[in-house]
């Protein structure tokens, strides 16, 4: 529980200490948010270039040549450039957007306030983890500018492709090395962040804030941090081994008898499958790291804006815990076709289907929460509702991929690309948009423009369905993923109209995002002044000024008397009871 002396630091005065090397969790949260915002636009621009190349592989564009003099000599994008864009797109999106904004951004800002703490448990560690993350991003992006360019082995970096150096392709030299180093740095940053989140949640809760009164956002940040602690530790180890294979001549992932590009290599004794086990031991929990905060936020928004308590709060908590726990036993579903023991596929698939159950529970409970409500359609709420829709659509395709029998066809096709974009990509992004519209008033003291927000929401909602639904059909038709162009195969040529449609939808959706950026920056300066509690919400961040004072509660120590979602309580004066209202 919170004790006043844990970390009593006053507000620093200088600009640098206050906004750059800040120890304030709120500033750090905003720093993370902008890091993710930069990254998501970079990642999205890369995806538009990729989509363009897929349907116009021979187009001459002088801009490409300016950006990549060798990768696009003469203005025509090479397949290796396509693959390096793809690798960087996936890596940036997964690590620097999905892991960063929902957890480190919003979590940093709001976890302490929502539990009634003055700051994170370890403010210096917090600052360090942000700057380490930024360093990782700089190293990652620099891979574009070295000899050979960015790596082409995908965000999963399977050896031997990723382990034998430039022999296996351009980008596999310095570019791949920088990639591994960046990921290792990122792991370090995430471990620091995870420890901080866990300690803060356990130790710094205000009086009366029992675990079963925590907002579901806090529950999901807490469990996400535990996943991060266990997952990133393993990825860090794997990354170091890969680096050793690349630079020190070890053979963790490289077997004997390799002949790459007509050259006989002197490795022996390693196994390419070892990397896959280590990677996915991290990788599957990682997709929950990406989506759990979104689920917590969706719960918070659905309760707030339908003016109802969460349907089955306890079931929601158990579902989060269940997902977190089971999440560590299903990594093998990424490896059904890998050549691992086929008997283990049965175990992994039953566990995978089991993890579908808590996910389904959450969906039912969301609809239960809405049922009988009085829904206020704010932009934040629209994104939460969109999240539920996308979560269902993306979850459904998982029932196909979780069956090894059906994966015999779908593995590594566009069906997979459609699946993970729906559930982990855009659903999580919708969570971030929802969080932005909901918390912006608290963070910046001004309201965002709701009209622009709604226009942006509807166009984006239609846009993402238009991009990612057709991918399922491509997958059913057998179109493999990670193909730079489709002209070598007759059956893929027949699918070109679908690809064209998706490319247009992607360009449209990308352009629409400018509305959001405009709204964000315009509202920061010109938005209407935000009151303390614009949404009539119940959680503690809505008891303090917008933006909150430096120590969050202006020297006071909040006391919590109520559960997190006491809306429409019969007999109460207003239609909500705040957590800190008198009992």
């Amino acid at each position: 529980m919170s004790s006043p002396v844990v970390h009593a630091h006053g507000a620093p005065q200088g600009f640098i200490r206050r906004y750059i090397f800040s120890l304030d969790h709120k500033v750090i949260g905003i720093q993370y948010y902008f890091l993710a915002l930069f990254s998501v636009f970079l990642g999205m621009s890369l995806s538009v270039l990729m989509r363009f190349h897929m349907v116009y592989p021979d187009a001459k564009v002088s801009l490409f040549e300016k950006l990549w003099p060798t990768g696009a000599a003469g203005g025509i994008m090479t397949p290796e450039l396509y693959l390096s864009l793809m690798t960087m797109h996936g890596t940036i999106m997964v690590f620097f957007v999905l892991t960063t904004a929902p957890q480190s951004g919003f979590g940093n800002y709001f976890l302490p306030i929502q539990i009634g703490a003055e700051d994170m448990a370890f403010p210096v560690l917090n600052m360090l983890s942000f700057w380490t993350t930024l360093l990782a991003l700089v190293v990652m992006v620099s891979a574009f500018f070295v000899q050979g360019g960015a790596p082409l082995s995908g965000w999963t970096a399977y050896p031997p492709l990723s382990a034998v150096g430039p022999l296996s392709g351009p980008g596999e030299g310095m570019g791949q090395t920088l990639w591994v180093i960046s990921i290792a740095i990122f792991c370090g940053a995430s471990l620091m962040g995870a420890i901080n989140f866990i300690a803060t949640t356990i130790d710094l809760r205000a009086r009366g804030m029992s675990m079963m009164r925590l907002p579901l956002t806090v529950w999901s940040w807490f469990v996400t941090a535990i996943l991060g602690l266990l997952g990133f530790a393993v990825l860090l180890a794997a990354g170091v081994l890969l680096l050793l294979d690349r630079m020190a001549g070890t053979s963790f992932f490289l077997p004997a008898g390799l002949v790459v590009n007509d050259q006989i290599l002197n490795h022996k004794g390693g196994s390419p499958l070892l990397w896959q086990h280590l990677f996915w031991f991290f990788g599957h929990p990682e997709v929950y790291i990406a989506i759990l905060p979104g689920m917590g936020l969706a719960s918070q928004l659905l309760a707030t804006f339908s003016r109802k308590p969460i349907f089955g709060y306890r079931a929601m908590v158990y579902a989060i815990l269940g997902i977190g726990f089971l999440g560590f036993f299903v990594w093998g579903h990424h490896m059904f076709m890998s050549g691992m023991n086929p008997y283990s596929a049965m175990a992994f698939s039953i566990l995978t289907m089991s993890i579908g159950v808590p996910s389904a529970i959450k969906t039912f409970n969301w609809i239960g929460t809405l049922w009988g409500g009085r829904i206020r359609f704010t932009t934040a709420m629209l994104f939460a509702l969109g999240f539920v829709s996308l979560f269902v659509s993306g979850g459904i395709s998982g029932i196909f991929l979780g069956q090894p029998a059906l994966d015999l066809y779908f593995h590594d096709t566009y069906f997979v690309v459609g699946h993970f974009h729906m559930i982990m990509g855009v659903a999580a992004i919708f969570g971030m948009f929802g969080g932005t519209f909901y918390w912006f008033p608290k963070m910046f003291g001004r309201m965002m423009n709701e009209t622009l927000g709604k226009i942006h929401f509807y166009l984006t909602f239609l846009g993402v369905y238009a991009i990612f639904t057709p991918m399922h059909f491509l997958g059913i038709a057998g179109n493999p993923r990670r193909y730079a162009d489709f002209t070598n195969f007759e059956f893929m040529n027949n699918l070109m109209p679908v690809h064209k449609f998706m490319t247009h939808a992607a360009i449209f959706t990308a352009v629409v995002q400018l509305i959001f950026v405009f709204n964000l920056f315009w509202s920061m300066r010109k938005g209407a002044k935000a009151p303390v509690n614009p949404w009539d919400s119940t959680t503690l961040e809505w008891t303090v000024s917008s933006p909150p004072p430096f120590d969050n509660f202006a020297g006071k120590h909040p006391v919590v008397n109520h559960g997190a979602y006491e809306y429409s309580v019969p007999g109460a004066a207003k239609d909500y009871i705040m957590q800190s209202d008198p009992a």
């Binding site: 390799l258 079931a315 829709s389 069956q403 029998a405 057998g478 007759e490």
Partner: protein
Amino acid sequence: MLLGVIVWILTVVICYFFLGHYWWFPPPISEHGQAYDAQFNATLWVTGVIFFLAQIALGYVIIRFRDKGGTAKYSHGNNMMEALWTSATALLFIGLVLAGTRIWAAVHFAEAPADALRIEVLGKQFAWSFRYPGPDGKFGRTDIKQINDQGGNSFGIDEKDPAGKDDITSASIKVPAGKPILLILKSRDVIHNFFVRELRLKQDIVPGMEIPFHFQADKIGVYEVPCSELCGLGHHQMRTTLEVMSEANFEKWKQEQAAQK
């Protein structure tokens, strides 16, 4: 309100495209392929109904429970319903996996029949090679030092091994219809993947491993084989074909190849 209607429209449009089979599987050419399609269809129906009901319900609550004044219902949930839908989804999901087990078992647990035709598959950046034992029925030894792609020896068949003299190699794979085939999948450099859509079969090819993989194709024809595991800049052009021939034609092809030796 508007969102509810949009969700409904999207749901109907998506279901329409799934029911219309505009972009779909090619017809299967094996018993396994038919079993696969049956399992796929079962899954499609089960999940399709869930998808439809969940989205329609979402659209419904959005429209029905929009703020029209009045008060929201104060409720913390219902344990009965919680237990009900938890067990229902658990049963449904696990049931689907178990139903698919037979298909997986036939591919991976069952051994290929002893008389299956053995073919070695070699993946390398960015081409395929296939090797058949010659009339002696035996594969010759290989030696990576003797690999010579230009000279037609991608496998590195050892000159000194008499068993290898009659081995037949080919850049595409030909098999007799209606006969069990046992592939031995090998890669020389990075991971590749052997995928035939019409067979509904796919398997990674991992350097350092020899992965056995068996199938039987029943319909004569030529089918495209796209590499389906990222292997480098030429991944998208790593193409070959599977030609399913009548048994007589297959024997004729083999003799022609052997004669050229």
